[in-house]
Amino acid sequence: MKEIKKCFITLLYTRKAQAVKQWMENEGFSKEGSSSSDDELVDLTGTAQDLIDDVPYLDHGSTANHSNGSWAGNAGLLDLLEEGVPGVGTYDDFNTIDWVREKSKDRDRHREISRKKKQSVLALLFSLSDAFSGWLLMLLIGLMSGALAGGIDIAAHWLTDLKEGVCLNGFWFNHENCCWDSKETTFQERDKCPQWKSWAELMVGVTEGASAYVVNYLMYVSWALLFSFLAVILVRAFAPYACGSGIPEIKTILSGFIIRGYLGKWTLVIKTITLVLAVSSGLSLGKEGPLVHVACCCANILCHLFTKYRKNEAKRREVLSAASAVGVSVAFGAPIGGVLFSLEEVSYYFPLKTLWRSFFAALVAAFTLRSINPFGNSRLVLFYVEFHTPWHFLELFPFVLLGIFGGLWGALFIRANIAWCRRRKTSRLGHYPVLEVLVVALATALLAFPNEYTRMSGSELISELFNDCSLLDSSKLCDYLPLSKVGDKGANFSQSSNGLADRPAGPGVYAAIWQLALALVFKMFITVVTFGMKVPSGLFIPSMAVGAIAGRLLGIGMEQLAYYHHDWPMFKSWCSPGADCITPGLYAMLGAAACLGGVTRMTVSLVVIMFELTGGLEYIVPLMAATMTSKWVADALGREGIYEAHIRLNGYPFLETKEEFEHKTLAMDVMRPRRSDPPLSVLTQDGMTVEEVEAMISDTSYSGFPVVVSNESQRLVGFVLRRDLVISIDNARRCQEGIVGASHILFTDHSPSQPLGGPPPLNLRSILDLSPLAVTDHTPMEITVDIFRKLGLRQCLVTQNGRLLGIITKKDILKHMAQMANRDPDSILFN
C-alpha cells in the first residue's frame, strides 16, 4: 500500500514537473529580477551538497515535506521542479559534486522566488525570509560555535590541571580559579594556596620531597594515560571520522568532494569530547584544527534547518567556508585572522559574499566567546603582550635568522610527519591505533614531567615565553641580576616602559636556558609522531611552542651579547648600557610566527592572527619579515604545506589552485579512451532499450555517460550521470506501467513512431544535462586544467571536428599531473 502511494506521489511530481517545464518554455520565461547583487561577483560556487548521514535515496520522507517555508501552493512547485524522482540530483559518497549544475539549480530557484514575490504578500514575505536566511544561519553558527568553544576551553583547562591536583573549594575549579580569591599567594610562588591540593598532598600528606615527587609523577602519568585511552576508544567506537586535524578533509570537501558523515552529529559530539581529553592528556597537540572541524560540523547540522542550504551542495559550501573562519576565530580569539585563514588556507572558491558572511559569523562567535569568558579576564586575546619597546632595524638580521629556522623546521617537519604517516598507513603500525596512542602518551608524559617547561600546557608555555620581564615578574626566566652599580639603584630603572634595562642573566635564567633547549628538542621530535594519530590533533600550538622556545633562546642570547659587548660597533649606535634594547619576548613571538608559517605556509593570515593574538601592533613589520623568510626557505625545500601534503598522502581528488600547469600536453593526450582502451561507452538518444542500458551500467563503472545522436554520427546531445540513470530506471520499473526490459529509452523531446504492440517507451530527458562542457582535442592542457579549476567541473567531453572523441575527468587530470611530476599516478584514490 505504501509503495503504491509512493509511486503515485512520484508520478504526480514527475508529470507536474514536466508540465511546468513545458509551460515555462512556452511562456518564454525571462530572467526577471536577476539574481541578487551578491551573485554578480566571481561566484563560481555551485551548489552545496547535502552531507546528510542517511542514504538519500531512501529518504522519501524529507522530499515530500519542506521544512522551511512550506507554502503548499506556490513554493511546492519549486521543489517539484528540482526533484522529479526523489534521489535524482544527489551524489554518492566519495564523489565530486557538479558545481555547474548545483549553481544553476540555485539560480533557477532564486529566479522563481523573485518572480513570485510580486504575486502575493505571502510570497513577498517568503522571498524576504529566503534572503534573510543566510544571515540568520550565520548568526546561529556563530552562537553555537562560540558556545562550544567556550565549553571546550573551560573543560580543557580543568582537565589539564586535574593531572596535578584537585581543588577543595569545588572540584570543578582548575588551579588558577581555585586560588582566585585566596589571600595566601605570595610574590615568589604565585600559585600556592591552601585550597589547591596536589595529589601527593592528598594521598601521602607531604608537599615536598622525593616521595611527593614520585607520587605526583605517577599520578600525572596515569591521568595522561587514562585521558588518552578514553579519547581513542571513544573515537574508535562512535565516530572514526573524528580523528586527526580535519583541515585537509575540509579543504577537500570545500573543493567539491563528498564525505558523508564527516560533518555529522556524532562526529561533532565525539570530536568535542575527545578534543578536551586529548589536549588534557599532555600530548603535544593543539585544538585549533579540530575547532575548525567542530565549527564546520555545527554549520552542516544547522544547514538542515534551511531548505535553501540543505538541498544545494554549492551553497552549503559557502556556509562551510564561513564556518571555518568561525573555527579559527574562536580558537584564538582572532576574528579577522580567522576570515583571512579561511580565504587563504581552507576555501576553494571565495566570493565576496562569503567574505561578508564569514565576517559576520566570526564577529558573532567572538562575541559569544567573550560573554562566556573562559579566560576569566574579559579578554579575547590569548597571549596578551604588554611591551611596546621599539625595535631597531639592525635587529632585522636575527629576525631573518628566526625566519630561516622556521622555514627549515617547517620543511623538515612536513617530510618527517608524512613519512611517519605513510608508515602508519602501510605497515603494521597502523593495525594498533589504540596501542599507538597509549605508547605515545606514555612517552610524552614520562619525558615531559621532569622538565617544568614541558609539564605545562602549550598555551601556558607560549604565554610565558612571550612575556617580557618586568619588575613584577618572579619566574625563572626573569631572574636577572641587578645592575652592578650599587650606587644608583633607583636612577637606572626605566619606569616609562614596563621593561627594564638589559641586565646580565642570573642563575635562574641559565637554568631556564638549559631546560628550554631540552624542551625544544623534545617538542620537535614528539610533535612529528603525534600529529595524525587517531585522536583529534591540531598543530598550531605545538609549532608555535617550538618557534617561541627557539625565539626566546635567541632573544636571551642577543640580550646578553648586547650587555657584555656593548662596545661592539653594531651595538654602540643604539644600545648603550642601561638602555632597554632587546626584548626577548618579541623574538619569541617572531619565532612562533616563523615556525607556524614554515609548516602551514600561511602569510597574511598568520601575521593578522599573530598581532590579534598578542596585541602588538608595533611589530607587524618584523612579523612580516620573519614570515616571508620562513615561507621562502620552506618553499625552496618542499612545495607543499602540511595540509596539502596530507591531502596528497590520502589521495583525495583535490585540484591544487596555487600551482601552475606548466607542461605542453594537449587534451587528447589525457583523455580517455586511450588507444588501447575499449571505445567510449555512449548512449544513443533513442536507440537503446532498458536492458541494454542496464547491461552497460553493470558492465562498466563509469560515473556518467555521454548521449549522442547515433552511433554512426557521434554528435553530442548531452551527458547523463550514472546515479541518476540507476535511480530513474529503478523507479520507472517499479512505478510506471509497462516498462520492461525491451522498452526503449528516449532522451528526446518527442517520441518517434513506435511499432504497434511494443511496450511504451521511457523518457529520461529530464535527467539529461543538455549543456555539457566540451573542448576540442587540440586544446592545450593548461587551458583545460584552468577550466576545471575555475568552473569546478567534474568531467569534460572532448570533441574532434564536431564528433565526440573522448572524455576527461578530474581524476584523469590529477593522474596526469602526478605522472608529469614523476609521482605514482595510482595514488589518486577517489574519483
Binding site: D181, F187, Q188, P240, G376, S378, G430, L472, L649
Partner: protein, 179 residues
C-alpha cells in the same frame, strides 16, 4: 544543538555571584620590603593601590612611590558557568562511556535472549560497497512488517551502526581516509 541549548540555559540561570570579582595588585620589591600580591573583592571603582593594599607596608611619603610600582588589575569570572560546563561535560562523557559499554558488552547478551531480531544483526557485517541500494531494499522490506516506534528506533540504530562500521573500516583498517 542540545548541548548549546543546555549551555545557554546554564548561563541564563547562574546568579551573579559577588565573590566572582576581584582586584589583584602586584607590588614588586621596594627597598627592604619584599614583593607582595594583594587580593580583594572590590568593585572596579575601588580597584587601586590605596584601597587594596592593606596593611600598607610603608609610611607617609613612601606610599606614593610604592604605589606607583604596583600594578592593579580588575578581573571577573563566572563560577556558575565553570561549574555548569564541567558538570555537563562530565555527564556527557559518562553517558557516552556507558553507552559504549552497553553496545559492546550488554547488547549482544540481550539480543541473544530475544531471538526475533537475529536477521537484522546478520546484515551488520556484510555491507558491501557495490550494491548499496539492494541491501537497503532488503532491510526496508523486512522491517516494513512491523511499523512501530520501537522498530523505527531499532532501524535507525542499525543504520547508524552500519555507518560507523564503514567509517571504521575506511579509517582504521584500510587507511583510506584520514591516515
Amino acid at each position: 544543538l542540545v548541548l548549546a541549548l543546555a549551555v545557554s540555559l546554564v548561563l541564563a540561570l547562574t546568579p551573579a555571584n559577588s565573590e566572582d570579582i576581584r582586584c589583584k595588585c602586584i607590588c614588586p620589591p621596594y627597598k627592604e620590603i619584599e614583593g607582595q600580591i594583594y587580593n580583594q573583592n572590590v568593585s572596579l571603582k575601588d580597584c587601586n593601590c590605596l584601597h587594596v593594599v592593606e596593611p600598607m607596608p610603608v609610611e607617609g611619603k613612601d606610599v606614593e612611590a610604592y604605589c606607583l610600582r604596583c600594578e592593579c588589575k580588575y578581573e571577573e569570572r563566572s563560577s556558575g558557568t565553570i561549574k555548569g560546563t564541567i558538570i555537563i561535560y562530565l555527564s556527557v562523557l559518562g553517558l557516552l562511556l556507558l553507552y559504549m559499554v552497553y553496545l559492546t558488552l550488554l547488547e549482544p547478551i540481550l539480543k541473544r535472549r530475544l531471538f526475533g531480531h537475529s536477521q537484522l544483526i546478520q546484515n551488520d557485517d556484510d555491507v558491501g560497497d557495490q550494491q548499496p541500494f539492494a541491501n537497503a531494499h532488503d532491510v526496508l522490506s523486512r522491517s516494513r512488517s512491523r511499523p512501530n516506534v520501537l522498530n523505527k528506533v531499532e532501524h535507525a540504530q542499525q543504520r547508524w551502526r552500519r555507518q560507523v562500521q564503514e567509517q571504521r573500516k575506511s579509517v582504521f583498517d584500510r587507511h583510506v581516509v584520514l591516515s
